[in-house]
Subunit: 331 residues, 2 copies
DNA sequence: CGCGTTTACGTCGTTCGTAACGATA
DNA sequence: TATCGTTACGAACGACGTAAACGCG
């Protein structure tokens, strides 16, 4: 068993059991991977994949277990390399972030911009997806950190650090009756209007959905879309009133009116989620403290070391009231 | 970075920074290890060890972190090999147990004997030590499981499974006044007698010590010894009355009288402690269910999978009332 | 017939052990 | 001078890439 074999193994698994594709990704040739896989299977004495004819069809039951272990081995090997890179102040590297569209589009740009300033040699990769996909990416070690939101408790997997809190807002065209009446809307009013919101708000465990359920109301979701830009577009088109994250409203959206609905829907928290036991590159810490300035470097490191993160964090700021981003101070 | 390099690295660390000794242990030559170590350091870009002249003097700060990671990598690699060995019903292997003298001498023999019966090809290695040493051995991956006792909560590190409960007993020569009076002794009485007990009972956090402290008594420890056989010997010699674990009293100790003192000292629990995330060989599971027959195979596996073991276990038997050891039923 | 895997083969790099050298107490 | 680590060198092994063969849709 060698690290190379394990690296090839997970590459194959991560490439949908396509050895050729996996070979490209690890910058090696396809026969090389085939052979190493075969050798590994020979050494272990059982098949890691089920073959259908010549091609790989599925992962064996035992193979799944081996894959799991192999991933943590590779993650730890990467950790060792991170220790080394940090120690010699290596400025190059990658920052791989899995996150949802709203975060990527409205919350992350400033912090990523600041990072690109301090660490021009670091290349950033944004991996979009739904909450569960995002966490899966993190668990599989395909990204360095995940940024996701939840209405209540932090995600169970990984180490979650609260970045900021936020509320939903209602968005409507300027001439919409809801706007002109000047009063904050009630749940009952909203339930009568055609709504435009995220796809995720249809899920039973969405906090939007649950707020309506609790009042025994059935909102009329006229349309759902994957991202806030689409929602705004269709609100402009008169399809209905939008329900979206406050971060999604920009200065330039002058043709839309925004109504706070803090009283109707629970507050949400955006979390930075890290893999347990992971060693962060210097610039990742930098990024985290840029994105969530209330977090102290030491707190982050401490949370990573203990495998149960603190459940209570002091003073997680609201989106609108986040502290000014501290000037990067890097050699 | 290769698995071999990491294996050599921890071998060197575990051999007290003596490369020659480490080389013997891994069945390789000393120049081989020297070179691999050098290559690893070159790749990482920093020294893992501090040199004094030519010999290794200490582990670097960063080296300690790397060592930690390297150990989990090797442990996971061993896990993969365990999966493989289990799958092909490999009957050979090693069972490395770190434990205290009392367990090794009085509690473990039956279960180990049974194991040797079912798996004659498995070689058993007992690694004696004090509680903290035993747990360190486990954490460092030098043993497969640890068996230790505590008066209250299970040890914090690793996954602890309760094996059985037990009490201390008082042991005295047949003609001792304590015996002839027929009454169970009180704490006050004991505090007046010269006692012979384990070295560990001197420690401030020993449950024996705390029982006396709670009653504001200062017992007179006439002698301490590392193991129960010594204690019994000196009790026979008239040095005082013994305080030891009930398991240590054998049928053959007819010249000594045993007095229960369940009412004076708290009940103790003996735990089987496993490393988190470890994959057990089939025979290790077999051993565990032999030693602690009330534990179900599935419970053990489940406790290992979840990284927080159940705090409450149903029906942990007392030493004297342990269920009959089930007959091994192995192909 | 294209796509993907396996087999075959030659080359190159690496590891390993032996042996000699160097430093340290 | 004995012990331990480094350097040097040659042999063997192993990994990798190219090229060709094989199966499958």
């Amino acid at each position: 068993m060698t690290l190379t074999q394990l690296r090839y193994l997970v590459a194959i698994a991560d490439s949908g059991l396509n050895i050729t594709l996996a070979a490209e990704r690890v910058h090696a040739t396809q026969p090389g991977l085939s052979k190493q896989l075969k050798q590994l299977e020979d050494e272990l004495g059982f098949q890691l994949f089920i073959r259908k004819g010549k091609s790989l069809d599925a992962v064996t039951h035992a193979g799944r277990h081996v894959l799991e272990r192999a991933r943590t081995i590779l993650a730890e090997a990467a950790n060792i390399r991170s220790i080394a890179a940090n120690l010699r102040n290596e400025a190059r590297g990658e920052l791989r972030i899995a996150t949802t569209h709203t975060q990527a589009r409205f919350a992350l740009p400033v912090a990523i911009g600041a990072l690109a300033q301090s660490y021009p040699q670091v290349s950033v990769h944004l991996q979009p997806g739904r909450d569960t996909e995002v966490l899966a990416q993190l668990e599989a070690g395909r990204v360095d950190l995940a940024v996701i939101s939840s209405a209540g408790a932090p995600p169970a997997s990984g180490i979650a650090l609260p970045a900021y809190r936020w509320h939903r807002v209602i968005v409507a065209p300027q001439d919409h009756p809801l706007v002109s009446d000047g009063q904050p809307p009630s749940l009952d009013e909203l339930a009568l209007l055609p709504l435009v919101s995220y796809e995720s708000s249809l899920k039973a465990d969405s906090s939007l959905r649950r707020a309506f359920d609790a009042a025994d109301l059935r909102p009329q979701i006229a349309m759902t879309a994957g991202d806030a830009d689409l929602i705004k577009t269709y609100v402009r088109a008169g399809l209905g009133v939008g329900v979206l994250a406050e971060m999604a409203m920009l200065e330039s959206d002058t043709d839309l009116r925004t109504l706070p609905v803090d009283h109707l829907f629970p507050q949400c928290t955006t979390w930075i989620v890290l893999r347990r036991e992971s060693v962060l590159r210097e610039y990742v810490l930098e990024f985290i403290t840029q994105f969530a300035p209330h977090l102290d470097r030491r707190d982050v490191v401490r949370a990573l070391a203990s495998d149960t993160p603190p459940t209570e964090w002091s003073a997680v700021p609201h989106w609108r009231e986040r502290p000014a981003i501290p000037q990067a101070d890097v050699a």
